[in-house]
């Protein structure tokens, strides 16, 4: 029925690094749900935008390591952002937002504050792209991340429309869907993803998701104590509409300011109801045919 494509639900015990069996918190172990019986801890990103300096080293390192074709060579007029958004050829995207100071949190003498944030695939616990992929090309890895198997993808483009974050794109050159792999080829060898490795300020942190989430909560508490009242976490709540993200963010304004949806919900959340309504409509169609043929003489 399914291969490693993530829809089977084998309940298995989960071992941490020291080999102790621990029960995963509800909804937090997508690798086990995908059928991995013995797997490493769920890995992810914590992108702390409060220390991002907008150097775009992450964008460059990602392209270099993953051999992603160039783009973003146009001038968009959007501050220093010429990459515009995540796509098949942009797997890390640095957003630049210039705002008038309104709350005393500005950091420039010119009355502006400058927000920078490196966006990336969320590697959702409930991943819409993976759910809707008809070929099984999108799969859940043992690290709980979501990757496209390029040799299977037939370019149907369904994942592009299903992602609530607009992350994944279809390449115009090779016709396939592409997105961040959380450097699957690197982390399997114990290396850090290229973007995290290149980040000079540790705005991008990589590690076991549990640790990152704890660190993120500490960081946001520290910022609040320091008077940065707008600091908030994004994607760190396992009770949200995607079951929590595998890459979490610390933001200094509302998510939509960074181009992120404020309350994303995996689109397959409503799928059972959709099928019920479609079944009723199909029955109605049969009924209409029966009525049309039964009534009247001709």
């Amino acid at each position: 029925m399914t291969d490693a494509s993530g829809t089977s639900s084998g309940k298995t015990k989960w071992l941490n690094e020291t080999g102790t069996a621990v029960l995963p918190a509800a909804g937090l172990d997508p690798a086990a749900e995908a059928g991995y019986s013995d797997h490493p801890p769920r890995m992810g990103f914590f992108t702390d935008t409060s220390v991002c300096i907008g150097c775009k080293a992450c964008e460059v390192a990602c392209k270099e390591w993953n051999s992603v074709p160039e783009d973003g060579l146009l001038l968009t007029g959007m501050s220093y952002d010429n990459t515009a958004d995540l796509s098949a050829t942009t797997w890390r995207h640095v957003a630049f937002i210039e705002q008038p100071r309104s709350d005393g949190n500005g950091d420039g003498a010119d009355g502006l504050r400058w927000l920078m944030a490196s966006n990336v695939c969320k590697h959702c616990t409930r991943a819409g792209c993976l759910d809707v992929c008809p070929t099984g090309a999108l799969m859940r890895t043992e690290f709980g991340t979501v990757v496209v198997q390029d040799d299977i993808c037939n370019g149907c483009g369904y994942c592009v429309s299903a992602c609530p974050f607009g992350v994944i794109g279809r390449s115009e050159t090779d016709g396939g869907a592409h997105k961040c792999t959380l450097c699957y080829d690197r982390i399997g060898d114990g290396l850090m993803p290229a973007c995290a490795k290149a980040c000079p300020t540790e705005s991008i942190q990589f590690g076991p998701l549990d640790e990152l989430r704890e660190r993120a909560h500490q960081r946001v508490a520290g910022l609040h104590a320091a008077g940065q009242s707008q600091a908030r976490l994004y994607g760190a709540d396992p009770a949200d509409g995607i079951g929590g993200a595998g890459s979490i963010f610390l933001l200094l304004d509302e998510p939509e300011v960074y181009g992120l949806p404020p309350d994303p919900v995996v689109t397959t959340h409503d799928l059972p109801r959709m099928w019920r309504h479609a079944a009723a409509a199909a029955v109605g169609l049969v009924g209409a045919a029966l009525a049309a043929c039964a009534g009247g003489r001709k």
Partner: protein, 333 residues
Amino acid sequence: MTAGHGQPNPGSSPGSSSPDARGRGARRRGSAGRGEKQLVPEAEFRSYYGRPVVKETVWGPDIPSYLFLGGLAGASSTLAAGAHLTRHPELARALKCGAAGAISLSMIALVHDLGRRTRFVNMLRVLKVTSPMSIGTWILSGYTPLALAAAAATVTRRLPRAGLAATIGAALLGPAVAAYTAVLLGDTAAPAWHEAHRELPFLFAGSAATAAGGLGMLAVRPGRAGQAIRFAVLGAAGEIAAKSLLLGRLGPAAEPYQTGRAGQLMDISEVLTAAGLAVAVLAGRTRIGAPLAGLTLMAASALTRFGVFEAGRASARDPKYTVVPQRERLQDR
């Protein structure tokens, strides 16, 4: 004005969103005509330079064409079986042949739309209940051979029993072909498609019956299309009811169906549906009236599909449709 306040930055889009489309579409609302539906005050939301949050579909015109052709095929098969069993062979034959032709064109459109066409067969690697496209692939895999066999049997007049079995099989799977495409669109992040997931199956099933009834009127001699006329009337009634429910319930997400290119397509479709119905009922048994009504209703069905398709695209392009409902949801929580 600075970033982050929902102001589209002129000339800021190397991507998909053209400033022109924004200006014509959801942005401009007056007191005249449909503009009364204003539920969200302008510029009350924030965005990243007015750029989309979700991605617009990469599907081309192949897909709305398939929505029409697949619906036409599925509903035709169902009506064909009814005509066959009630001994209306002329209508049954026309509908079976129409279904076979429409589903063949559908297959071409579906493969043509793929980014990697030679890998279309990868659709058959898995069966995933979470993927409407996977379920649809398997429905089509069952339906298509049956529809082709039913048509072949009726044209060659051979193997009547096998032909009857194929006719009934196609009639039972046909409605699934016609209705699942609504789930295909509903199960996306495009706000106008996702928010419409309750009504869209009924809209599509109704539209499919309208088209199939139209095909029947077009293809048989006047006076033999009574069943097709009744089927089209029932389908159009369902379509109109589903559409008005959709527009009434959706709130702000209904706007993409009423403005811009999608709004034009939906409006023309509505006029054609009404005109086609009137001609079918009043003059559906005349030599000129029957094919005229049939063509008009088929065109109406096709325009409905293109309209729904365009509405989804427009709703993905404008961050308003993504951000505002989500922000309201958070505030209500």
